[in-house]
Amino acid sequence: MAQTEGQTPAQAPAKTTVARPAALVVCPSCDALCRMPRLAHGEDAACPRCGQVLAAPRHKAGMQIISLAFASLVLLIATLFFPFLEISAAGLSNATSVLDVVLAFTSGQLALLVLFTAGCILAIPALRMGLLLYVLIPLVFDTPPRRHAHAAFLLAERLKPWSMAEIFAIGCAVALIKVKDLAHVEFGPAFWMFAVLVLLVAQVQRNLCSRSVWDALEAGGSAVPPLQSKASRA
């Protein structure tokens, strides 16, 4: 892990560096002003005061995130319709899809919970993946950023804590043990899709360095092209 303080920016081999000159950044959690060193792919920059990771560029992360995000969108739509859990007792059986889980709260005055559950386990993860695709595809294929790409990425970042797919997966396991005594329960195909989905979303999160995305958006946008001007002067 590279500390951001007082390092000369030209230490790493030029070939693997992210093409960005040293810039001042402000740690979002403790407000320390740091100089961002030039990072090689795979290196992390952490705030020297509080340890918050400020940047963590990964090799070919953009392409990986695009494929992972696309795969998780497909899985997310598929899980909606396939049975998630199947229950049977004394000859009666019932199969539940994720859609049924969401609609479980429609009866009675608990409709507020429907919206919330649907949002946290389906809508927000889907929206985040869609936004990431919208922002990253032009960046990876070297075309100008789409309209409102900045706002889209900001929204994706702010929605991060509200995306609760992994919590729902653990909830499934707990629910399973709770009804174990009552009836016989089996996982449906959608459960395994959902499990893979959780892993994919985690992998997207591991590869995503928001600092690099902001840099790329800034460089590709019409506002200021700091990369070009710096490079031509050098």
Partner: protein, 201 residues
């Protein structure tokens, strides 16, 4: 200098919105503590009915039982599922309670001299932010169970009113933790504690 909390870019003091990501720039959120306490209080009010009312209404072969959060965990433990009972107790009782205490402690500690170091409190804040979402587990369990267990007269499960108030508790404590401006923790640095070498930039 003022920094953007979303894209970490530094701007000259007085800049109103970030030129990279467009979010509003504030050196310190002056109303941060007010917001924290407001959401904290609402969450606490929701937490009381969440514990008093039933979370689940289970009917099996004609008999109906209603379980509160703690009651449900006790039933599970009586059936021998100690691990699941522990998970439920941890996610729905221990974590929310500790979270209420931790947020209150952080909010109090930034407005008066505190004995705990900045680092300890910073870690506490990160833990609170990270772990808070996991309390939703009980709400999801109720959702799954009530969707799944519809076996006519043999067994059926319905959500109780506490599922809504508990979900609201989790949401409000999450918003309360997010409203806390963690930069306030670091404002109390004494000069001799100041270890940051490039602050002078």
């Amino acid at each position: 200098m003022v920094g953007c909390r979303y894209c970490t870019r530094a701007w000259p003091a007085g800049t109103e919105s970030c030129g990279v990501c467009g979010s509003k720039l504030v050196s310190r959120d002056r109303q941060s503590l007010q917001k924290v306490w407001a959401w904290w209080l609402v969450a606490l009010l929701c937490y009381i009915p969440a514990n008093l009312y039933p979370m689940l209404r289970t009917s099996t072969l004609g008999s109906v039982s209603q379980d509160t959060i703690v009651g449900g965990a006790i039933t599970l433990a009586e059936h021998g599922s100690y691990v699941v009972a522990a998970i439920i107790l941890l996610a729905s009782v221990v974590i929310p309670t500790l979270k209420f205490l931790a947020i209150a402690y952080l909010a109090v500690s930034v407005s008066r001299p505190s004995s705990a170091s900045q680092h300890t409190r910073h870690i506490l804040y990160e833990v609170v932010e990270y772990i808070g979402r996991w309390s939703m587990i009980d709400v999801f369990v109720v959702a799954i169970l009530s969707a799944l267990v519809h076996l006519g007269s043999i067994a059926s499960i319905e959500p109780g009113p506490a599922s809504l108030t508990f979900a609201l508790t989790v949401v409000f404590t999450m918003i309360s933790a997010q409203s806390f401006d963690s930069r306030l923790i670091w404002d109390q640095l004494d000069d001799d504690q100041e270890k940051d070498p490039i602050r002078a930039d």
